[in-house]
Assembly symmetry: D2
Homo-oligomer: 149 residues x 4
């Protein structure tokens, strides 16, 4: 959780930090992390950010809500390398108003260098009806306190 | 399909050959294919060997049979490398008598060098009962002709 | 290779089509292809589009040019599923003027439904100097004929 | 680190425990972890077991020793599932006498159920000569204290 200030106005958002160690399997012969593997790092960031609210994506699925990804955007500034202990910053910058939710991610290495930025938009899908739906109330209540002045 | 002869005795079995191209994603910083990725190559070999019989694993799942893996064994003799067009030989050496089926695999590169050998044993699982079961009759009938003298 | 016509003007570009079969390993428990795996599908599309010109990315690396990815963008419209024989359309819409090259991708299933669109921008990097460089002449010559009127 | 007793004789070995959380990416449509992904879990177990000795595989590579895998064996007893916080037990049961080293692994879920057992044998390779070599002295010294009576 963090409150950020841009140009004198308090921007409110939910922010979470998690760490993970780059696996050998995740590198490629360019001696860097393969570009597709950041999708997994972002997934870990999202999952841990929700867990930190006392909830979990796993429980959401058990309660009948899936969250398929509908868009992914990544910029690669510097490579992550084998055995790097990377930091994944995950931000929810606004509460979802309709059926989608967007997470912003930044990946840093141990020397605090920004490696990657990205964003992932997911849909809330009701398993029973196979239709998109709004963010479930029980998740909304977890995020909402970070978005009030 | 192939009939192999060992020491004068005709060994009967089902054998299938398929090819695939090594992806960059599958390499690691040792400039070779990561050891865990051969499980995917064997999966492709198995799936294509069944498709070549006019059937598919996908249809089996739709008919209610899952095939979880219960053991995997791989020997790595030489590395596969990026962009190699590898050959995966898949053999069923005997018809399953009970609930398990074992496939043997060999991976070759374009210069016919043997890179890897392995074997995978899978269980037949009935989705409805969540219990192990025998090989379904419709699959047995596909394999059986290769095992008669 | 294909010439496309938009609003009466002949748009010139290089286009390549390749196919691949979705692996079980590439699915997740949502019964669809995991969102990060499309990076591999795009990689295959790029590699095969270059091979079709009588060249290969592997040879480029051997000649001292790396192509790290600097941005990735994907929109997921419909899911790809296990065993789908997908079609990957790869387009180079303009010849690179500086150090970067952008490929556009579309993924279709067997019923010709558009599943995914994406674009990948890569940098030309000279291994010896570890600096960005222009597209090597030998690759430029392969692409250029598709961009002349 | 642990000393185990079998049939009255004190068996000495090095043992390390690490934990990791199963990612969505690692599941497949059978709703379990894909069988090939355990190779990554074992890799994490090995890497962390070496790190716990105050060393790292990354440093070994920097000092000119690679450790390619030459065999892998896995038995799958029960599936690991999404979001499981699994425990990976890694054992070195004997000091390598020649060019190879074998690690034994066991994977448990949070309810202490044994999910998977496996073993991985790796070769020590000298990068400069591209030949197999003995375990480097600096690593031997880390392991040796666990194998003296």
């Amino acid at each position: 959780m963090e409150y950020c200030t841009f140009t004198g106005i308090q921007a409110i958002m939910y922010e979470h930090i998690t760490n993970l160690r780059v696996r050998y399997a995740e590198t490629d012969q360019m001696n860097i992390v393969y570009y597709g593997n950041y999708a997994q790092y972002f997934e870990v960031g999202r999952a841990e950010s929700i867990r930190d609210l006392g909830f979990s994506y796993k429980i959401m699925e058990e309660r009948g809500i899936l969250m398929p990804v509908i868009s992914l955007q990544i910029n690669y500034l510097r490579p992550a390398r084998y055995d790097d202990l990377i930091t994944i910053k995950t931000q929810l910058r606004q509460l979802p108003e309709k059926y989608e939710i967007t997470f912003h991610h930044e990946v840093f290495n141990e020397r605090k260098k920004l490696l990657t930025t990205g964003q992932v938009t997911l849909l809330f899908m009701d398993i029973a009806s196979n239709k998109r739906t709004r963010m479930p109330e029980y998740l909304f209540e977890k995020f909402a306190p970070y978005f009030t002045n």
